[in-house]
Homo-oligomer: 396 residues x 2
């Protein structure tokens, strides 16, 4: 048996040898485990010629294990972590990408890329990834959004976060950024799934936004720190946004745009696919209207209530099997008593908090740093405050 460390290193190295989502690589990992799969590929034993060639090409550029080790060291310095299957944080729903190719139209089935589950995630931010995605909705759309689209996406982001839904998007200009900002404005949780390293601000104009997301939400990527946002990676990335959420809302899209691809993936994965219509006179709604006309599964939604109605339904989504991984579920009785004793607004001193929670001051002090680390509480000059509306901690 290989250690967790070996597995992690092998998965990172495999992601460097072949782009994430390569089905043949994922199948090898399934059969042999990541360490043996890596050995096989490095020995030139890939069963497919195309894969063999690309592994050989990457290997000439560097030693896969050394590159991976360097990426892990860099991540550590940046405060990023790697999450792999089997970890508590691993979001089980992305494993459903395993069958994605079977659900695509014939011509797309034979394609080896964009259809396998991720081998690993790089994560920056204070939340467990699986917990953050458990109750999540994607809001995606055009980069060249109109004021109408920005307004709608901001409103949806705010409203979803306000109802304790995590808002997932791609960190791009336009609709993506509006959705993230709406969620941040509501004091909610938002996750940006990137097509480059979690240390890279791409696009640069959203650098401040990424900093805010890394502080209170999550930056997530399948590529190691430093990785470039190459063009094909956006489409590879989209499958994670579709698979990791309960549904995708498409706000604005030009004809045949990438955002409509995310929505199509959501449909293929039996997630809710929702589309916001717009003026027929707007080029930025052409893709949205196409989707509504061509995809019977795409549901027209006009606002928050209708989005909640869609994603609130249980059913098609396979239950998430992995154990308690929402932050509130990880708390022991003392920590939970402290959270419940926090005032909804404003701050409270440690002594007063101990009294409210019915605990010894030293017990409270011991738990506070953990609660801070989980981003449930924040330390202020005059005491502690809830980091987010307390109902998130109470709901599941």
């Amino acid at each position: 048996m290989s250690t967790h460390e070996d597995s992690t290193l092998a998965r990172v190295a495999l992601t460097w040898l072949a782009e994430p989502g390569t089905r043949s690589v994922h199948r090898l990992v399934d059969e042999l485990g990541p360490v043996a799969a890596l050995d096989l590929l490095l020995d030139g034993g890939a069963p497919q010629e195309g894969l063999r060639d690309s592994v050989a090409a990457r290997s000439r550029a560097g030693d896969a294990r050394a590159v991976a080790a360097e990426a892990l060291r860099l991540a550590d310095r940046l405060g990023a972590r790697v999450v792999i299957p089997g970890d508590d944080e691993w979001p089980a729903p992305v494993e459903q990408l395993r069958d994605l190719h079977l659900r695509l139209p014939g011509a797309q089935r034979r394609v080896d890329i964009e259809t396998a589950p991720p081998l690993c995630f790089w994560v920056r931010g204070p939340w467990p990834l699986a917990g953050a995605l458990e109750r999540s909705v994607a809001v995606v759309g055009a980069r060249a959004a109109t004021p109408y689209g920005i307004h709608v996406a901001t409103d949806l982001g705010y409203g979803l976060a306000d109802r304790d839904w995590t808002v997932v998007s791609g960190g791009a200009f336009g609709i993506d950024a509006a959705a993230h900002r709406g969620a941040l404005n509501a004091g909610g949780l938002t996750v940006a799934v990137l097509a480059c390293g979690v240390d890279r601000a791409y696009p640069m104009g959203n650098a401040a936004l990424f900093d805010r997301i890394a502080d209170t939400g999550l930056l997530v990527s399948e590529w190691p720190p430093g990785a470039e946002p190459l063009r094909p990676r956006f489409l590879i990335r989209n499958r994670v946004i579709a698979a990791g959420t309960r549904g995708t809302v498409l706000v604005e899209a030009a004809a045949r745009s990438g955002a409509t691809q995310t929505t199509r993936r959501a449909i293929a994965l039996n997630r809710r696919a929702m589309v916001v219509p717009g003026p027929v006179t707007s080029a930025m709604s052409v893709g949205a209207h196409e989707m509504l006309r061509e995809q019977p599964e795409a549901r027209l939604v006009t606002g928050l209530a209708q989005v909640l109605e869609e994603v609130g339904r249980i059913g098609e989504l396979a239950p998430v099997p992995r154990g308690p991984d929402r932050p509130a579920d990880l708390l022991d009785d003392d920590a939970r008593a402290i959270v419940e004793a926090m005032p909804r607004r404003g701050t409270v001193g440690v002594d007063a908090l101990a009294a409210r929670a019915g605990l010894a001051v030293r017990t409270v002090l011991r738990k506070l740093s953990m609660l801070e680390e989980l981003a449930l509480l924040v330390r202020r000059d005059d005491g502690y405050a809830l980091a987010r509306p307390p109902n998130r901690a109470n709901r599941s």
Copy 2:
């Protein structure tokens, strides 16, 4: 056998005794013919108590036959005519209203009104009614339309007329008027189906529009000249708009508005139901989006091409059995030669026209007044011109 004149008078009298669309009256006419049905009702022999009571109440206000005769005299003075089943002009598709109640949800099936075919139409304008409706699309929507809706409806009206489709609407402010105006601007044919007499300009603000429509299109009503636009009549009227056209396009509608009722009737009658989406931030698109969410048969359309795609399909619509009644189809060879010889733009003198058509001048002179009457040609100071794009005369 009763004469055509007797039948007409009886149908007009019956429409005065009970509102058009009353199923029990239509059934009596089906069984007994209009003259005997009228006699039966006037003798107090209506099989339904409610109908008996309403006939008695109307009869106390006047003699039904005398009222009908007066209405016919008034119509004659106004240049309006009555059209009844069996007339060449009678639009066969409205007979499909006979089964409408069977296609409505349970609760609406037992209602006696709004679901029978008309007993007669009052018509003003130079076109045979059946021919005008043969290739027609309804464009309906909110009275309190936004500039966006007005823009879209005007464009659709123009584009449909330009492609030789008749634009049918209800003559109301907002979307209806915009659709009519668009068609008129294209030099096309438009039909206003009114909920009052064809001599009444309701709403008054559309008086000039009604004059233009009466000159080059048709004003149509089930109610006799002088009849008031009572509130329930708008819903009764809507079934004719739905039944008389190949499809209905809903452009803007507030929540639960009358225009959505027309679209629902179109669905019940297997006509194409099309809905133009709009900004989700607009109250005037709420009804349109509701329709798209709740009625699977309602098709989202974003412009002319998609509307044409829908109504251009043959299939669900029963073929119109009655013979040639499009103006161009009524022409003999000489008249057709004249129309085909007309210049697409500008005017032509009689001599030149005769030469172009290869006909004797006196033959041309004999046909010209008929072509003028059919509104295919117009007389100008310096000769004759086509009243409408010549392609209407060539297509069917």
